[in-house]
Amino acid sequence: MEYYFGILQNIGFHTLLGLSAYLLLLTGQLSMAQVGFFAIGAYASGILTVIYGINIFLALGVGAIIASFFAFLVGFPALRIKGLMLVIATIAFSEIVRLYFFNLRWLVEKDGVEVGPDGAQGFREIRYFAANGWEPSHIVSFIWIVVILVLFALWWLDRVKAGSVLRAVGEDELAAQSSGINLTVVKVSAMTGGGFIAGIAGGLYAHSTTYVDHNSFTILLATFAVAYPILGGLKNVFGTLFAVIFIQGILIEGLRFLGDYRNLLFGLLIILVMNFYPKGLINIPIFNWSKLFKRRDL
C-alpha cells in the first residue's frame, strides 16, 4: 500500500507542477522557472513548520505566497523578453534558486537536535505530518484534494472571461492589446498564479518526503514541468493530468522491468510527440474520449 501511496503522491506533485506551467503556456510563456518557485515553496514552508513550528496549512499558504511573490518579480523582466530568451532567462533563475539553497545554512537547535536547511546536506527532518499523527492515507488525500482544487480552478478559468483573455494573449499579443487587453497585467498575473501553484506543490513535496536538497530541483524537473502540458496539449487541464499519469505512472513506474532504459524513454517521448502530435497527445484519434470533457459551449 505504501508503495502505491508513494506513486499517488508523486503524480500529485507533478500534476501541480505541470498545471503551474500550463497556466503560463496559455499566455504563450514557456517558463523553466516553475521548479525555482517549487523550491522556494518547499524551503519556505519547511522552514515555517520546522523552525517556527507553524501549522501546516498556514505554512503552505505562506510558502506559496512567497513563491508567487518571486514569480511576480520574475514576471516583469519576462515581459520584455519573449520565446527563446524567456526560456534561457528562466533556466538561469531556477539555477540561481537551486544554488541559493545549496548554500543556505540555517540551523536551529530544537529539543537538543539541530534542524533546518544545512547547505549541501539538504534540509532534513521536515516531520510535521509524522509529528502530528497524520497517516500516509491522510497525506495522500490531502495532496489530492489540493490537486483537484487546482484542476477545478483552472478548468473553471476557461469558462469565464479571464480564460479567454489568457488564451488570446497566448495566441496573438498584438491583436490582444488592440482589443484593449493590458498585457502587463495578464502576463504578470499568470506568472504570479503559476508561482503560487508551484509554491504549494513544493510545500506539499517537502512535507511528504520529509527531506529536500538542491538535487530535488534540477533543470530536469523544470523540463518535466513544461513537458506535461506540452505533451498533453493545451486544450484543457486534463491533457496535463493525462501526461503526468502517462509519464510518471506508466513510463516510470509501470515499466520498472526495463531498468534504467526507462530514463531514455522520456527524451524519446518528447521527440516523438513534438514530431507527430505537436499539439499534444490529447489530439491523438484514439483519445476521442476527451470529447467527454469538451466544453459544451466551445
Binding site: 523578453i81 520565446g83 534504467d260 527524451g267 518528447i270 513534438m274 505537436p278
Partner: protein
C-alpha cells in the same frame, strides 16, 4: 580569505582562458540560431557525446590518444546531424516551441545514453599532449598551455566562420535562408542542406570544445552537460543571439567572471554570479553586446 592583486589577475587570466570553451559552445548556439532562428538545446550534449565517442573508440581500438581530439569533433558533427533530423527536420519552421522541446528531449536522451553506457561514473580523459605540460610565465602571472591552445583555436574558428559566412557562396546562402526563408527556397537554395551544414559545422566546433573541456580537467562526465549548456546559452545571449564575435567575447567574459567569483566567493556560489550576470544584461541590454533587435518567438 586574503588575496592580492596578483591572485585576482591570475584568476581572471585562468578564467578567461577557460572561457574559450564557453565561447565555442556559445558560438555554436549562435550559429544555429543565426541560420534558423531556433535554439538547439541538445547542442552541448552532442558536444560532450562526441567527446565520449572519441574516447570510447580510442579505448576500444587502442588508438593513439591524440586521435580522441580528431574523432571527438567528427562524432559530434554526426550526432548533430541526428539531432537535426529528429528535432528540426520534420517540425515546421513556424513551430518554435516544438523544435525547442524536441531538442530538450534530445538533450536528455543523449545524456541518458551516456549515463547508461558508463554506469554514470566519470572517465579519465587524456590530456592534450605537449600543450598540457606547457606553462608560460609572464612576470608573476602564469598561462596554461592547453588553455591558450583552446583560445587560439576559438579565435581561429571565429575568423573561419566569419569568412565562410560573409565571403563565400555557402555563407551567402546561409544568410539568405536565415533572413528570408521562403524567398531563399524559391531561389532554389536547398535549405535543408544549408541547415545540415550549419549543424555539422557547429557540431565539430562543439565536439572540439567538449574534448577540450574534458581534457583540461582530466575527466569526462555527463554532469558536464547541463552547466556547459547553460553557460554556452548565456554566452550566446549576452553576446547577442546571432552575433559571432559577441558569443566569443561573452564566453571569455563569463569564464573570467566565473573564476573571479570562484576566488572571492568559493566554488559553491560562483555560478550564482554568472547567472546573475545574465539578468544584469537582460535588464540593461536585452539585445546583448552586439545583437540586433530580436522580435521573434
Amino acid at each position: 580569505m586574503s588575496f592580492g592583486l596578483i591572485d585576482i589577475l591570475q584568476s581572471l587570466i585562468d578564467g578567461i582562458l577557460f572561457g574559450s570553451i564557453y565561447a565555442l559552445i556559445g558560438l555554436g548556439f549562435t550559429l544555429i540560431f543565426g541560420a534558423m532562428e531556433k535554439l538547439n538545446m541538445a547542442y552541448a550534449a552532442s558536444s560532450i557525446g562526441g567527446a565520449y565517442v572519441g574516447l570510447g573508440l580510442a579505448t576500444l581500438f587502442s588508438l593513439p590518444l591524440f586521435l580522441v581530439f580528431l574523432i571527438g569533433p567528427i562524432a559530434a558533427g554526426l550526432i548533430s546531424i541526428l539531432v537535426y533530423l529528429v528535432s528540426f527536420r520534420l517540425i515546421p519552421s513556424t513551430n518554435h516551441l516544438g523544435s525547442l522541446m524536441a531538442s530538450i528531449g534530445a538533450l536528455f536522451f543523449i545524456d541518458e545514453v551516456i549515463i547508461h553506457e558508463t554506469q554514470g561514473s566519470p572517465l579519465t580523459f587524456p590530456e592534450l599532449g605537449i600543450f598540457a605540460e606547457a606553462y608560460f610565465m609572464l612576470g608573476d602571472l602564469g598561462f596554461r598551455g592547453d588553455l591558450i591552445f583552446i583560445m587560439i583555436f576559438g579565435l581561429i574558428s571565429m575568423g573561419v566562420i566569419i569568412y565562410l559566412l560573409y565571403y563565400t557562396r555557402l555563407g551567402l546562402a546561409t544568410r539568405a535562408v536565415s533572413q528570408q526563408n521562403v524567398a531563399a527556397r524559391l531561389c532554389g537554395i536547398p535549405i535543408h542542406t544549408i541547415n545540415i551544414s550549419t549543424f555539422v559545422l557547429a557540431g565539430i566546433l562543439g565536439g572540439f570544445a567538449g574534448c577540450m573541456a574534458a581534457a583540461s580537467v582530466g575527466v569526462i562526465s555527463p554532469l558536464l552537460t547541463i552547466p556547459i549548456t547553460i553557460k554556452g546559452l548565456i554566452a550566446a545571449v549576452i553576446g547577442g543571439l546571432g552575433s559571432i564575435r559577441g558569443a566569443i567575447i561573452a564566453g571569455l567574459m563569463i569564464g573570467g567572471v566565473e573564476n573571479f567569483f570562484l576566488l572571492v566567493r568559493g566554488v559553491n556560489e560562483r555560478d550564482i554570479y554568472v547567472f546573475l550576470l545574465l539578468f544584469v544584461f537582460l535588464v540593461l541590454r536585452p539585445n546583448g553586446l552586439f545583437g540586433n533587435e530580436i522580435n521573434r518567438d
